[in-house]
Symmetry: C2
Subunit: 151 residues, 2 copies
Amino acid sequence: MLGDLTESQMEALLGSETVARLGCYGNGDVYVVPITFAYENGSVYGHTHDGLKVQMMRAHPRVCLEVDRIEDMAHWQSVIAWGIFEELKGEAAAHAIGLLVERFRPLLLSATALPQHALTALTRRRLDAHGHRAVIYRIVIDTMTGRYEHS
Amino acid sequence: MLGDLTESQMEALLGSETVARLGCYGNGDVYVVPITFAYENGSVYGHTHDGLKVQMMRAHPRVCLEVDRIEDMAHWQSVIAWGIFEELKGEAAAHAIGLLVERFRPLLLSATALPQHALTALTRRRLDAHGHRAVIYRIVIDTMTGRYEHS
């Protein structure tokens, strides 16, 4: 059975998944890249470093996010959302870092036994290994559709 | 440890995964959608019905595919590929259907106990429930990058 997800089912999927596929556009090409994210009140928050994806989103801030949970080919849910990319500074950035640390601490701890101070340092660090500046951002969703299939 | 996948590691990921996220562009917006696919000799083969995604790819045939295998946040592989969308007809379409049936028969059988004749009928059917025409296509990859992280 195929159908549309309700608003609250879409919110639940965004609130429970941690990986989205982000689609941006620039120089005539589409770029799709997996991102980790935290969802709150209609926005997706993320952390990255200055690079191709950020350059494309600055030039063309309307982006697409796809989030899914696929058990098998007959049991899946998928949300496709469009929204506007915004870089965050100051208190807004600190709020986003707090959300991301809360969201990923349990996952990172179980994956790598990373102590909390290391995670906080990681999330707050200003430059990556190539010297690229940290970028904290949100995508303010304006349009969203959701589909599911189950037997 | 972060690193680049080799050509053969990228091929292996494309050959073993069955879900890609396809990014297309049209009317000023990016659209990212999950697709099931079969990979052979530098091309990704798929089956869909006439709709938004196909209209966008006809108008703007260069698309992006993202394929990943994510165990957890510290253990993952990801390939991002760009290529040209082509609709297939006649023998080329029959070859693609054969590939897709071979690829998905074991998965569909285990998921839904669908008999083989039903799967073949499903893959060959001309119209979906909304009367949209079936579209068999391939994306001929011209550029590909791959990254991994493991501990």
